[in-house]
Symmetry: C2
Subunit: 115 residues, 2 copies
């Protein structure tokens, strides 16, 4: 996976563990796609300091993932969810009872909402 995409995903999981300033700069760089120069101007911080903060935050996010593995677990969970949905679809094809079809539909919603 491209490093930029990976860091952007790790931000979804761990950004709350960063300081407000770190979070703002990382969002401007990875989500708003601004350049170091632009972020430097907006935040009134030197270009070098912005670069250092981004580098440090990349390392922090990687460390959090090494320790908590929330992204890795979410990939497994997503795959498992797809397998369950496939099996529920097989069951749907095998029945024409309205109450069973309704229940299967409800279970699909529960599974998509959860996990």
């Amino acid at each position: 996976m491209e490093d930029r995409v990976r860091i952007s995903i790790l931000m979804d999981y761990y950004k709350e563990l960063l300081t407000e300033k770190q979070k703002d700069i990382m969002e401007l760089y990875f989500n708003e796609d601004l350049s170091l120069a632009e972020i430097s101007e907006i935040t009134n911080t030197s270009r070098q300091a912005i670069y250092d903060i981004i580098k440090r935050c990349n390392k922090l996010l990687d460390d959090y993932e090494d320790k908590l593995k929330l992204f890795e677990k979410s990939i497994k969970s997503k795959k498992n969810k797809e397998i369950i949905i496939e099996k529920l679809t097989l069951l749907e094809k095998d029945t024409n009872k309205k109450e069973c079809l309704d229940l299967l539909k409800e279970i699909k919603v529960n599974i998509i909402d959860s996990i």
Copy 2:
């Protein structure tokens, strides 16, 4: 929930974010149920320092939960899982086709393994 139980559960989610020393002391206190005096002796650290570390770690664990809410999410997920299992059990009662029963059993295993 009793504070001691809550901290012990938060340790399951966030202990990897503590230092080795913090983790060891918290495990001795909350999981092995040793006294401050016993931990002080084992770790060759003053009783007051052990007390301070435990107090600081309790605060750290609460802060991590405030930010990431892994414990809160796991409670919701567990409830949702129970609801799904109940619905699958209703479907089981409604069929006697072997292939459907097998699929339902498989889905239950997938759900228990995941989420």
